[in-house]
Symmetry: C2
Amino acid sequence: MLGRLNHVAIAVPDMKAASALYRDTLGARLSEPQLLPEHGVTVVFIDVGNTKIELLEPLGENSPIATFLEKSPAGGMHHICYEVDDIIAARDRLKSQGARVLGDGEPKIGAHGKPVLFLHPKDFLGTLVELEQAG
Amino acid sequence: MLGRLNHVAIAVPDMKAASALYRDTLGARLSEPQLLPEHGVTVVFIDVGNTKIELLEPLGENSPIATFLEKSPAGGMHHICYEVDDIIAARDRLKSQGARVLGDGEPKIGAHGKPVLFLHPKDFLGTLVELEQAG
């Protein structure tokens, strides 16, 4: 069921400083910042060849990453995103095995324009897991 | 400078349960457990096609992940590993820009039999970064 690692997300308090670190210090290729007000984040993608790193900065009030950054003001790894061929089948299989899907359980459209779901970190080794419809 | 994402490491309190979760619930392909007493961990690699997830369980006294699991008993994302073409050149470039290398600053041999270094999380957005010699 589990497909490719689509991205690893890192929450950052300051996108300008985080982008400079990856671009200038680490010599990586970055996308332009993308504002996603409906998700409460600004994102920058870093192409590392085989997958992507997603930098997340809070946007607006009630950003879903604000609490995370209160606990980890310097930033930190926030979630990991796997691709699945059929997000509805994957969700139903996981739910039947007792895993909890966050929110109302229905896929939302993510940063790549594809349906995504988040799974409860308590059911996945303390790791917030995002599933994204592949293809 | 920054190359492919070699792996994302997840610290887990119970390798048996963690392996079952990824194998049975998520349907992933796992390696056999590998005991690395000199690193104080048992590792299992999960092949997700484009990169790997590394499950880490403490092994022996003074495991470097014991403190992490005390703070996060359910487990969690522990570090991220990037490949670099020349680990010594990468280290020297990063040090010249003020980044701190953990330990004595000399590469050690990692789980794949290649030289690795760890960078201070405070210099990398709260994320423990491992560099591994590519190729």
